[in-house]
Symmetry: C2
Subunit: 267 residues, 2 copies
Amino acid sequence: MLPTLNSMTDNISAGAGSTVAVAAPLAPAFSPLYQQIKNLILNSLRSGEWKPGEVIPSEMELAARFRVSQGTVRKAIDELASENLLLRRQGKGTYVATHAEQHVQFRFLNLVPDSGLPGSEGPAQRDIIECRRARASADIARALALHTGDPVLQVRRVLSFAGTPTILEDIWLPAVPFKGLTAERLANYQGPMYALFETEFNVRMVRAKEKIRAEPAFQGRESLLKVARGTPLLSVERIAYTYQDEPMELRRGYYRTDTHHYLNTLG
Amino acid sequence: MLPTLNSMTDNISAGAGSTVAVAAPLAPAFSPLYQQIKNLILNSLRSGEWKPGEVIPSEMELAARFRVSQGTVRKAIDELASENLLLRRQGKGTYVATHAEQHVQFRFLNLVPDSGLPGSEGPAQRDIIECRRARASADIARALALHTGDPVLQVRRVLSFAGTPTILEDIWLPAVPFKGLTAERLANYQGPMYALFETEFNVRMVRAKEKIRAEPAFQGRESLLKVARGTPLLSVERIAYTYQDEPMELRRGYYRTDTHHYLNTLG
DNA sequence: CAGTGGTCTAGACCACACT
DNA sequence: GTGTGGTCTAGACCACTGC
């Protein structure tokens, strides 16, 4: 309770700044109060004190709990909301963001149909091709911050829109946190895979990096996507991270771009 | 001077909110003060009162000018900074963002080498293949919000890294705002093309959308990029916008992805 | 109506950059 | 030191939601 906050407990009428009270080390390491609050909130998210979809305490409550003003809590929440970790709803409260019940169904999927709105094709058909245990190769291990040979789960699936196979994905997951994941559970679950990860394995994907290339279809991918061998495909290698920037998924996707395109916004 | 701000001139000790004084129309159209301030700043940016690279007045000065508190100006500037239109530098002031002297040389180019840091290959070699006047076809006109047949400038260039041609770009610009652009000026200019647009034509690119596909190299693109005909290329169609979301450039890029990849961050 | 997030203000002090 | 942005507080009132 009241995690001290660098002697922040009695700054009743104090000004700002307020570096650590104890002798600071060589590096200044000045961290604003709202940053510390942000980290405390992050800890509560990570520990599962507040789960995806739930409301977190009101700003006033958090301000009392952390012994800071509402404005400071506000700034912390503002940043978390801008990072899509929290979701503010005026008049209702602040919610933990979730991949389920998202305004957009696939927050991390940038492939959209050439004509029509993103969701206009109806729900995608998902076919799990396989789901098996394996050992991490060197590059898989590096991507997931594991050691070569560590157990992983490997999933292969195809997404089809309007009956046309469009996306082939190979997915690698560390076996430990995803213990118990089977093809059946994947196939039976309705909704985004990342939503299943949240509810069943308490893993929330927060951030991701994608490396995109153009590659010819081969090694059997041409038949799964029903295109001629050598057809150019978009190769999308994604590493997805959880709260503390821990890599928790490697995904190699192959997208047909004859009726869809990858949409990106620069700003 | 003092653009009234919806009767905001005498809210000396008033609270927040403060909708328009005159009878509001059917739509509430409630707009927070800081949003109005943001638009006023945007107008000054657009009009060229403050040019890219320059300092804008301090928060206190702007607060006095707009007759609001520093905090309100601050929130307006915060949003503009988060949209990369302004750049805050503690102790110095707030600057108008620019494509020149950017911390990253190419803010809108997501293609990075597979190994090594983004700028590690040294400056790119730029070869202007052609720069000519033309008439907008239907799809070019639609992208640039022009009419079919309107005059446009068409530029084709190749970017090479470490001697290897890697990017071929076809660029379409509305002829009117870019009157006087020639191959020579493009070839002689050092620095990003968007920086030249800023200094020479007072056009600042602020935002862009990219549609990405995988396409085989053909129609002469294979020879300019020195790859075999049919080699998969990343096709990147970009529309770039200026301050008021006016489209000002259409760019069709073809990227080799054998030594580079397109990097994207999801969050 | 009460409770929540959202806006606005005024004033204080801190961290940083220049002179 | 002076001026800039950055942080923090306290208090007021507005807008939205649901009882």
